[in-house]
């Protein structure tokens, strides 16, 4: 018997392997996504009798909701801060651990990835302890240099508290992108570097003219990935560390969605925030791709 002689058997096989997965995918992924768009057109507190169709009113309301604007600002602050911080450090580490022939390079690489296998919840709690006003690391450390005990509430400033969430976010994100860039650099043929060494090119020159152009694709993927994961997922660290406070100044779109839906029972409005996150991440993807395409032309 040869494969494919019995068409009926073959089709049965294909169906058994495709359909259960597809149904599963439809129920738990496609349906919720469509349902979210449907909910976003309703004013709905969660019970079935209190659901009224209001068209785009949820979205109109957002325009006048100051917390939405704060959340968007904070989200894009984190996106920008993480892209800059993570890309600079991850690129530096990736180059240092591959091109500079350090002893212990493999050891450092293993260590640097560790924050990526730890839950964001754990990372948030650890950094809360660093920032703790009474017994935290940062104040205790600063107190070594001052006469009086330092008692700054690092997570309680009336503005700019979102800045305090950037170090943990960068610290936790680097390893993943470093591994990605290391793989890219290792894919560059050694002969390129040998040829430029013969011409007397130094490390910086090699980085600028060989490494950077050849890993630019992976850097673009990384930047897009940082943007998407931040817009979609930065709210976990916000919820653990500040819960949006003080006074909603560290709210991001995701944490506001959670608060609206699951603590204030405005499920329609919450769903509308979800749609906003989707739209913004698509627009930002397109814009970033445009920007970075021009960049590539400049380099080559």
């Amino acid at each position: 018997m040869k494969l494919g002689t019995n068409a009926w058997q073959r089709n049965l096989f294909i169906a058994t392997f495709i359909i259960p997965t597809f149904l599963f995918f439809c129920v738990f992924t496609v349906y919720p996504v469509l349902q979210a768009m449907y909910y976003s057109l309703y004013d709905w507190s969660g019970s079935s009798d209190n659901k009224t169709f209001i068209g785009l009113d949820n979205f109109k309301e957002m325009l006048h909701d100051p917390i939405i604007w704060i959340g968007m600002g904070n989200d894009y602050f984190l996106v920008a801060g993480k892209i800059i911080g993570i890309m600079i450090l991850a690129t530096f580490f990736a180059v240092a651990l591959t091109r500079f022939k350090f002893r212990l390079a493999n050891f450092f690489r293993s260590i640097f990835f560790i924050p990526n296998v730890i839950s964001v919840v754990v990372i948030g709690v650890l950094w809360n302890f660093i920032y703790n006003p009474q017994i935290g690391f940062l104040n205790s450390f600063l107190s070594l240099f001052t006469k009086d005990k330092v008692d700054i509430t690092w997570l309680g400033f009336t503005s700019h508290t979102i800045w305090m969430l950037l170090p943990p976010a960068i610290w936790a994100g680097i390893g993943f992108y470093m591994i990605l860039l290391i793989a890219a650099i290792q894919g560059i043929p050694e002969s390129y570097y040998e040829a430029s060494s013969l011409e007397g090119a130094g490390q910086w020159h090699q980085f600028r003219h060989i490494t950077l152009p050849l890993i630019w694709e992976q850097m673009k993927v990384s930047i897009l990935n940082i943007m998407m994961t931040t817009l979609n997922g930065s709210f976990v660290i916000v919820m653990i560390m500040t819960n949006g406070g003080p006074d909603n100044t560290t709210q991001v779109m995701g944490s506001y969605l959670y608060q609206m839906a699951f603590t204030q029972y405005h499920f329609g409005y919450g769903a509308a925030i979800g749609v906003l996150i989707l739209v913004l991440s698509m627009i930002t993807t397109v814009i970033l791709q445009r920007l970075m395409r021009q960049e590539t032309i400049e380099i080559s």
Partner: protein, 281 residues
């Protein structure tokens, strides 16, 4: 040929940066261990970096394990992580195999649909997912979490495994078919064992993600009996406003971290290849 850096000053500075970053990663883990052995008095009287007093309070571990139910959370996390990873692997490997080997009308579109779904922010689906699970009476249950987590694994699994199946030689399947093996027999007895490296890569990446997952866990579960570890820790931290027990909190963190650290030590290479496989777009 030049190897490495020529300027010794630059070299020292670079080394210093690497070592500092290494310390910033290792040291928090070390102090988590040290602080998990202290009592409250030591936290308030002494510096956060000071060593714990003797006798070391290993009892903090048994205390969170029992009094704060971390034993239950741990078990829940293990059940949910293993269950959803196995289910997700089965669902994605079967479809990936057909997409790789038996293209049919619409198979490319189906593949693209799965890939495109990876671009959708998951926060969008949270609210409908809650009501969906609620209507199926699958909130507050490990089964509910297993189903949802398995579904989050499908797209990534298909993406990586289609590539993996395509890279395997066709001769073995043809030989097995000659011997009269059925389609199912070929898949389960020939292809699955051959694709072990791919399955392990996808599996490990997802085990880490699911073990560490917080937001779905907190939305679908509000009965402490069914908490997973990250949800349990977040709840414990929230309670700390009323009663402060820092030592046990750090013990709880360590209970959560140690299993993934052990996994990481054993599967470093697979994790790295999972990252690079997932990011080539």
């Amino acid at each position: 040929m030049k190897s490495g850096l020529s300027n010794p000053m630059v070299k020292i500075v670079f080394y210093a940066i690497l070592i500092l970053w290494g310390i910033s990663v290792i040291y928090p883990l070390l102090w988590t261990l040290l602080d998990s052995l202290k009592n409250n008095d030591q936290f308030f009287r002494k510096m956060p970096w000071s060593l714990p007093d003797f006798p070391l309070l290993w009892s903090n571990f048994s205390y969170v394990w029992r009094e704060f139910s971390f034993g239950d959370y741990f078990l829940n996390s293990v059940v949910v992580t293993i269950g959803s990873t196995l289910l997700g692997l089965l669902l994605s490997a079967t479809t990936a195999y057909v997409l790789a080997r038996y293209p049919f009308r619409g198979s490319t579109a189906l593949f693209l649909l799965y890939i495109a779904s990876m671009m959708i922010p998951f926060s969008l689906a949270l609210i409908p997912l809650f009501f969906l699970m609620n209507s199926m009476h699958l909130t507050n249950s490990s089964l509910g979490l297993i189903l949802v987590y398995a579904s989050t694994l499908i797209a990534f699994g298909i993406f990586v495994l289609v590539g993996f199946f395509k890279s395997l030689p066709k001769e073995l399947e043809e030989a097995a078919a000659m011997d009269g093996a059925s389609y199912f027999g070929i898949f389960f007895r020939v292809m699955l064992p051959l694709s072990q490296p791919g399955l392990i890569t996808v599996g490990i990446v997802n085990v880490l993600n699911i073990w560490n997952e917080y937001i779905i866990g907190t939305i679908l579960v509000n009965d402490p009996k069914h908490y997973t570890l990250p949800v349990g820790i977040a709840m414990m931290q929230a309670q700390m406003q009323y009663r402060t027990e820092w030592g046990p909190l750090f013990a709880g963190l360590l209970i959560t971290i140690v299993p993934v650290l052990i996994m990481y030590m054993f599967f470093q290479r697979q994790i790295a290849s999972g990252i690079t496989a997932g990011a080539i777009k």
